[in-house]
């Protein structure tokens, strides 16, 4: 297993007011798989993604990525873990507003000694014309493409996507999902996609349902629907 989560628990708040968000998550994803984590709002899916991404501390349990335990790592070790293994895509793109598209991508290119070819990537993502524009000059889809390019430039082993189409219209969402699909195929990138969009589950290898901090259901798609053919996005 590339990603293995066992008995993951996470709570927020203080002693008098505690919310147990994750109550013992069990999850595993194979290398190169695209996995969707679905659930209602407040189910704990984003928290699960953040715990895997080393952005949130884990109270209990185990998260292993490529066999390496991240529970208990120091902040700087977590930082190195993210630097070496992860790519992030957010719902609201989170581009650095005062950097151009190209410069935003370079933010992550800097972190690796063997980045992908930036020009090729920009071309692949259809950003050649926009590479010197600032985020405010781009549409939502273009911004998300930029965010994807930024995440991919260092060729991460695990791509964590938090509602990657949440702020996009359906056509643009489809484009983004096609792109993710192509990347998965091309680079063999393992992807964990948090979404509440029910249609996306059909295009991925594995689907995990989270409810009230627990994995209530998980399965692997025997047949996948190409992103281009997804309905009701």
């Amino acid at each position: 297993m590339y990603l293995e989560v066992k008995g993951l628990k996470k709570k927020y708040g203080n002693s008098s007011n505690t919310v147990q968000v994750l109550k013992g998550i069990e999850l595993s994803v194979q290398k190169g798989q695209m996995c969707v984590i679905q659930g209602t709002s407040g189910s704990g899916k984003s928290t699960l993604l953040n715990c895997i991404g080393g952005l949130e501390t884990i109270d209990e349990g185990s998260v292993k990525v490529s066999g390496k335990e991240i529970f208990g790592l120091s902040p700087s070790a977590l930082s190195d873990y993210r630097r070496d293994n992860l790519g992030f895509i957010f719902q609201f793109y989170n581009l650095v507003p005062n950097l151009t598209v190209r410069e935003n991508i370079k933010v992550c290119e800097y972190l690796t000694s063997s980045p992908l070819d930036i020009d090729e990537l920009i071309k692949t993502l259809g950003l050649t014309e926009h590479q010197n524009k600032f985020p405010s000059q781009l549409s939502g889809g273009q911004q998300q493409r930029c965010a994807i390019a930024r995440a991919l430039i260092k060729n991460p082993k695990l791509l964590l996507c938090d509602e990657p189409t949440g702020a996009l219209d359906s056509a643009t969402s489809r484009d983004i999902l096609i792109l993710l699909e192509e990347i998965n195929a091309k680079y063999g990138t393992t992807m964990l996609i948090v979404t509440h969009n029910n249609s996306i589950k059909d295009m991925v290898h594995k689907v995990v349902f989270v409810k009230d901090g627990l994995v209530v259901k998980q399965y692997e798609n025997k047949t996948r629907v190409p992103a281009a053919e997804l309905e009701d996005l």
Binding site: S46, N50, S79, F88, F90, P97, L111, F134, S136
Partner: protein, 901 residues
Amino acid sequence: MKRVLNKRILRDLRHNFVRYAALFLLVVLGMYIVTSMVASSENVIQGTIEKNGINRVEDGEFSVFVPLTDKQLDEIRSNDVEIEEIFNFDFSENGKVIRVTKVRENIDRIEIKEGRLPEADGEAVIEQRYAEENGISTGDEINISGKLLTVCGTGCVPDYDMPIRKISDTAVESSNFGIAFVTASMYDEFISGKSQKAQEYTYAYRLNGDYTADDLKNAIKDMEFDYHDVDDEYFQDYISDSLGKKDELLDGIQELVDGSAELRDGLADIKDHSSELTDGASDIFELYLDQANSAVSAFGITLTKDNYASELDKAIAATNSSELSALKERLGQLSEFLGGTKDYTDGVDEAYDGSEELADGMTELQDKTNEISEEYFDGQIDNLTMFLKAGDNPRINAASNERVVNKNMGLLAGVVVMILFMYVISVFVVHQIQSESSVIGALYALGIKKKDLITHYLRLPTIIALLGGIAGAAIGFSSFAVNSQMSQIYSYYSVPEYKNVYPVYLLIYCIVMPPVTAIIVNYIVINKKLSRTALSLIRNEQKESSISNIDLRKFSFIRSFQIRQLLRELRIAFTVVLGMFISMLIFMIGMNSLTLCLNVKNETQADTKYNYMYYMKYPEKELPAEGEAVYTETLSKEYQGYSLDVNIFGIGGSSKYFRAEPAKGKNKLAVSKSVQQKYSLSVGDKFVLTDSANDMDYAFTVDSIADYSAGLAVFMDIDSMRELFGREDDFYNTIFSDNKLDIEEGRLYSVTTKEDIDHSSEVFLSMMRPTQVMLLSVSVVIFFVVMYLMLKVMIDRASFGISLVKVFGYRMNEVRKLYINGYMFVVAIGALICIPLTKCIADKIYPNIISNTACGVNIRFPLYVYPLIFVGVMVIYFIIITLLVNRLKKISPTEVLKNRE
């Protein structure tokens, strides 16, 4: 709704406590500088006016050779002029001089600091600064001129506000000079039996009517005065020496008058006897003619005085008689004798007439010479030895005059700090509006009015500014701050204890200006920021400025990121540099003050190559063997409204004590470096000095610059100087020497030792230290606070980006490189620009601050100071960065999940 918004104010304060605390500190510091400088200055300025009224400060003073008679005093008083004797004498012992004088009754009255006025003989009030420096207290006994006096009090008088011994002294030396005030009878006892020369006959006056100081001066000059009344043997020596030439001339003329009269009388006598001579000669001729007629009667001729020659020629021709020929010859000789006596007597008559004319002419010459001599001599020697208007007296209002400059500097400093404050709060406001943009947009959308939001956002900075102003003013007005500023006044000038004043304008300046500035700046910035639509605010749309569009592809990623960050936070970078500029300017003024004091001290000590300087009242004809004779004159030169004394030293070709080589010529000067700096002179410039006592201007040409910086001095060739000022060929009035010389005290105005000079050169340094410390420390604190605030705001504003790059796996040193290190270049480049720029500006400003000080303006730092200042700036930057790194560390990667830009 308003109530709800108001609740946020406290939360906002708690959340941004450090920021508001620093802002508060900035206002406090700014207002502290203003209040402490201005309030202490106002204490002195207003206190001086008040005390001058109470103690009836003089309008001026004058000294005379011999005391004015009652009639002369009445004549002065009849012109509505109050006049009071402030006679005094100096008692010297162990290098200390106490000036003894009577307690003044109506003018320049004593302000008692401790104790009381003397009520009986044997008691004295001691001038307070001398008492402090020498540990003298009420009840102590002090020996003056062999009499033991009990100190009944200490105090000060308005005519010795700056207690210098001589008017020309530039620095106070209270440890060695003080004043003792005794009763009139005690004073009389002191001087009884002493010669006239023992005391200075000085009068203080107050003009109550239309009579002017010039009227008074002229009246005293015109008063009857016989210099023979002066019973000072040295004065008389000097006068007789000075008058020797005149007496010689008059005596010579007298001799000529006498001689010509004698000649005339002698010739008159001779003339009286001329007829006797001519009659006798005529008688002899007639007698001999009679004898001749008897002898020639045989020839039938009669000889007369007129025909004897022709008649005898005829007879000789007829007779060929040798006797007749001999007779003719004898008669011819007698006739010649007769003619000679006539010529002689005519000559005597002419000589007499000439001698009479000569005698008349000599009398006329004598009369004219006497007339000219009287006129010339009257101009030189009247009774007046010194006449000084209060405005020209450096002892009067000295503290107040000095403080006027401080007051103006304080007010200016306040404006400068307010400009900085304005920028700082504008940065805060912009940041706050941007960070709360979506909330504001939502509130707009919900119907909250812009006016309510402006009021809300205005409230906290306004309150902070108001409280900062109040706190700054309170600290500035506190006894701690005022006393620390006043201590330099009290430890230098001899002034009464001034009560604290609270000028309304200063209260308004300190308490009202900060909040009003906050309101204006905030209103303008907030109003502009809130002019966007609700949707634009909700989306937090940011306009990319055109400057952001620059192409940075040629730079490395890190460098281009840093540049982008700087461009984004241009306002912050500008404010950091502005803060640096303003604090650096204050720092440079403090440094200039420190440098000037150090340079004055070092240069004065280095340039004082003599051990003794004797300033002669009545110089001896013979110069002591070891001394170097110098002719000194003190003229004045105006500098920005202040009349400063400039000493002219007339020196010989190879002076041992001065590195100056003045060229020969009555209009040529070698100016000292201090004069060159003060008046910005170059070789070839004209330099006009004024002799205000005689209403004369002397125009000189700067011929060279002398390597000399002690006081304001210029040098002339001594012979040329003597010629210019109409002195004798061997005149001098100052002697410099390595060793102590044996000169009678009565001939001296003063003796100054190198030790005295060294000591007085240090006075500026100790006097200015509190101000220097305040300026230097406040400037560092302002710089620190502003840079800390701005970098902290920058980090707060960049927290999303920092969080984001942390998510991507950036390490702390890389985050620091991206977001903070760019500012290192801003600070470094800012420092490289600000250090020389502020130094130049401070150098332009500083001479105005010390315009009333008679010294050079050498404010050049040693070169190594500049890199040291730069290093200091960078050290402060790195300290701040170290503090802020904690802030960087605290920014969690999860922030990116909560917010978005």
